[in-house]
Symmetry: C2
């Protein structure tokens, strides 16, 4: 497989970086081709703006998704975006490694999504979910957090973590067509000792060795929705 | 009331900006003091990094939340963050106006949250929800999207929009103690004609005129959770 790891952590020596490095080593050793976009190291521009287009269909009024569509068609997207799009297009598995900030991705990774998941290539109209531009590819989230499992479980104070990450897991990765693997979480990281962190690394090595059999998250299928994306009525024969 | 509007849209002439301007005019006319942080106009730095601290407790290894706590205590946060913290501290109502990108906020607004909602002043340990740093203040989200209501409703293809925005509404605003008002949504915006957009503006004026009676979203209360934030067992007498 071609694997793209998109990594977003402000500390190069972080435990999250150790999880990213473990993935690079393990997956390379297993014979895969691994590429890494380390967003902090790249100083990646996080902010979607008019500057993302070398020329625009409408220079007077920016509709960002519309200019993305034109940019893909006319090859006028800025170079840093094109580079990342090419990496995603070439990959079979997209792996995101990041610390959870506010039950979501760090802004630099949100900006990578806002700017790289362009209308036209990744989605458009009814080209979403099982008709999305990235169908046939897999995506896996590996995220760290300070919280403990009981705080982010169904019935816990913050609610279920997979449900909290649904804007990313379903609304972004699933939306553009990825098969989304069950995410991997490292809990309570700032408070763990070395032995406990090694325990999490071992779980991660185990997960990496068994990607083929990892569960997929359920996603909507377009065949259940009509041309307005309303749920089809079931007609019993 | 003192009202802080944090606005994040890359097009100054956008309909979202019209909603923001309507809020500035209406709330000022009603006698409130209104301040606006227009994040694109400010060219706000979206990326949390080591550069956010004039000096650090640990210069060799960045734990971002820990340095935030020290930064608040020792007054070593960077100037742009301090300015925004002061604005939030001074406000009675925080209003966020933005277009929904990927079922979430644009990266520039995520970066404002990542950098400004600092550990120590906004939250810390069990100082969350009804014990959070921002208790006594209200927050309101005014967001625009391309989707139509049936796509983002319970049972719709993407699921309920308020549930999708839970990382922001509960996991961020509620978490730090705001009373979170029922959000205001402008649907299907890029596809509407002028009359339909005026209809949404009128709904928004109506919402602004009746903020006092607007519903609050339910949030967890700390009294239901023990010192480890586990749900207390109910003991029947």
């Amino acid at each position: 497989m071609n694997i793209l790891i998109v990594h977003a952590h402000p500390e190069p020596k972080s435990f999250t970086a150790a999880l990213k490095n473990a993935a690079v080593d393990t997956l390379t050793t297993a014979g895969h081709t691994v590429e890494v976009s380390d967003l902090y190291a790249l100083n990646f521009n996080a902010v979607a703006s008019a500057g993302d287009f070398d020329s625009r269909q409408n220079p007077d009024y920016l509709v960002y998704a519309l200019e993305q569509r034109n940019g893909v068609k006319d090859d006028t997207l800025s170079k840093d975006i094109l580079t990342e799009i090419d990496k995603v297009r070439s990959c079979d598995l997209l792996l995101l490694t990041f610390p959870i900030f506010w039950f979501s991705v760090p802004a630099i990774l949100k900006g990578w999504i806002d700017r790289v998941f362009v209308s036209g290539a990744f989605y458009g109209g009814r080209r979403i979910y099982d008709h999305g531009g990235m169908t046939g590819k897999k995506a896996l989230v590996c995220a760290t957090l300070g919280g403990r499992p009981h705080m982010v479980s169904e019935g816990g104070i913050h609610g279920d973590l997979v449900a909290m990450l649904r804007p990313l897991l379903q609304g972004t990765l699933g939306y553009v067509g990825f098969d989304v693997l069950e995410p991997f979480f490292g809990y309570h990281i700032p408070y763990l000792d070395d032995a406990e962190r090694h325990g999490i690394l071992n779980e991660w090595y185990q997960a990496l060795a068994t990607l083929d059999s990892r569960s997929l998250l359920p996603m909507p299928s377009l065949r259940n929705y009509d041309e307005t994306l309303a749920l089809r009525r079931i007609v019993l024969a």
